[in-house]
Amino acid sequence: MSTRDLRTRLQTVRAYLGTYGWLALGGAILVLVGLQWLGPLSTSRASLLFFAVGLFLVVWNLLLLRATGVLEFAHDHAWTLLAVFAVGAVAVQAAGLLNSYWSTVALQMFMFGVLALSWDLIGGQTGYPSFGNMAFFGIGGYTAAVLFKNYGVALPLTLVVAAVMALVFAAIIGVIVLRLRGGYFAIATLGVLLVAIQVARNLSITGGTDGIILLDVPDQALIYYGMLAVLVTEIAVVYYLSTTRFGYVLNTIRDDERKATAMGINTTYYKTAAWGLSALFTGLVGAMWAPYNTFIDPATAFNTAWNVEFIVMAFIGGTGTVIGPVLGAFGIRSLVFQIDSLFTGWQLVVLGVVVIVTVIGLPEGLVGQLKQRASALKYYEYGGGAAGGAEAADADATEGGND
């Protein structure tokens, strides 16, 4: 047996050990937490965090073991799953099962789901890493706040105007910045965000650094339904688009824009459309968030920490997928809530570390990893292992006596 052969086998063993090892670790954590719950220590936030981590490890590794089946199931029943999610989320709120804390957590999870998915539309699907999406959120929020406060416009109407404003702004900015690629695009969009902050600080209509206080806002449950509706709509739209020519063109632009142009595709049109769609949804949740928060000022409307947070969410979930960013948003947002109550002030440190670890350890994201595992499983299922062995043998032969 050559060393190369041995190495391949060791890697296989390690991969399996890895999955089962993490599974065992997660199980152990669950058992420990269960014992803690039954014992005198009772429940604390810390044990809830442990429970979440343990549950994640177990579920994730079970998913990895059954990657093919899981993906096929999700693919076949996508619309049913979305409907179940929507109905379930409405039901728990309507039945009053959520107290105000968990309602807040869920509402923010939905909001970040929209933000991450919107970012992914331009950053993941189209390959333009925008670092300025938060500008649309702020523009939406300010439009709604100013219209509501100064002109007494009804809130539902302000939502429409806010979304249109974000769209128009995106179209104008897009014509300029979408000509840039890669790092240049990233920094230019970050520049757009910072300019937006300064403009909001200096104009009188936005209330300068003092911001705008909103009174007589609708209650939280209504905004909960609103955020949920936007999220479900956006998932449906993005999922539908990803099966159409539009979605394929976006992915083509990401993979090779010159080739796409050479094929006669008007890439500017598609890029601007994706960017505009991204801005539309981002602006819409911004417009909902302002009355929910009852206050808007430059630092919160153009929150630069959130700006990174939803990129990280999309990235951890898996860029270029539909469900990845949403799952990433749910996971990270609930994690941030827990860390916030356990170690106040450290959430951004944790976020930074999570980013670094994920970039190095899981560059494909969770859903991307699941897809990779599924294709690897299929490869072995159809006798790919033998083919791989033959290739390795060929490689050995050509390399001569190196081994």
């Binding site: 300029i176 840039l180 790092g183 520049g191 757009v192 930074g352 190095i360 560059p363």
Partner: protein, 295 residues
């Protein structure tokens, strides 16, 4: 104040921006990374000097303040080398998005740890001077700013000489041109890249010490300097030290003129609008080679 005074102020401050940008351009050119944590190196360098001077009693003479600059540079060299070796090296040859993201992650982590450790209060290094300003032809020139100006130019010049004249400098330029070929002729590419990262961090840290003496320090200051560096590098062209110098001096002048003639609350908006305009109309910079084919 007269327009000439604004220009002089701008040139004095702009030299520091230029020095920070030179380090940024160095990593971009050699390791092919847009280092979003570069501003944090400036911040760390400034805090290094600050704490050394606090240990020495708070307000010190010019000589001691200057003596802390090499110490800060040495510390930052180690930080930069370690960052590249341990973290960034893992994704160096992967997609640009990953390197952007990992450096952004490092930037947040350092910045937030700095807030936890030293609080978000702005601080500044107090240097005792009996006679703080000199007057030339009706212009006021603060001595500290003049000193920082000279210091920044010296740092830039040293880097330029290092890259042109020493063996290690040649190795760095070789790696920038062609990593594979450099490896073939026996250059340890990863080590050279890490050294480059260290040098870049050291230059930024040295500039940070001077910035702490004349402009002040706070944990979230980094992002501004990263973006300024980006503006300057785009303006001057990637991999061009003279370009970065001219870019830095111009940016400083433009900012001071905006602050003086319009309002200091608009400086950032003006410089970032300028960045976007520059990116769109002159992406090759004024001095650099073409950046076509950037993925």
């Amino acid at each position: 104040m007269s327009v000439v005074q604004f220009v002089v102020n701008g040139l004095l401050v702009g030299s520091l921006f230029a020095t920070v940008a030179v380090g940024f351009a160095l990593i971009w050119g050699v390791v092919d990374i847009i280092n979003l944590a570069h501003g944090e190196m400036v911040m760390l360098g400034g805090y290094c000097s600050y704490w050394l001077i606090q240990l020495a009693g708070g307000e010190v003479s010019v000589g001691i303040a200057l003596a802390t600059v090499p110490v800060a540079m040495a510390v930052l060299f180690v930080v930069g080398y370690a960052l590249q070796r341990v973290l960034i090296q893992q994704v160096t040859d992967e997609s640009l998005f990953l390197t952007l993201l990992i450096t952004f992650g490092i930037s947040i982590a350092i910045q937030q740890l700095a807030i936890q450790a030293w609080s978000a209060t702005p601080r500044s290094i107090n240097v005792g001077l009996a006679d703080p300003s000199i007057f030339v032809a009706g212009l006021i020139i603060p001595k500290m700013k003049l000193l920082a100006f000279v210091g920044a130019l010296v740092l830039t010049l040293l880097l330029w000489l290092f890259l042109k004249r020493t063996r290690r400098g040649r190795a760095i330029r070789a790696v920038a041109q062609n990593p594979q070929a450099s490896e073939l002729i026996g250059i340890d590419v990863e080590h050279t890249r890490a050294v480059t990262f260290g040098i870049s961090a050291a230059i930024a840290g040295g500039a940070g010490s001077f910035i702490g003496m004349i402009l002040g320090l706070w944990p979230q200051m980094g992002l501004n300097y990263t973006l300024k560096s980006f503006v300057i590098v785009v303006f001057g062209g990637i991999g061009s030290i003279p370009g970065a110098l001219v870019g830095g001096l111009s940016l400083g002048t433009i900012e001071e003129l905006t602050a003086g003639l319009v309002s200091s609350t608009w400086t950032l908006a003006v410089s970032f609008s300028l960045l976007i305009v520059l990116l769109v109309f002159k992406p090759d910079g004024l001095f650099g080679q073409s950046v076509e084919g950037e993925q």
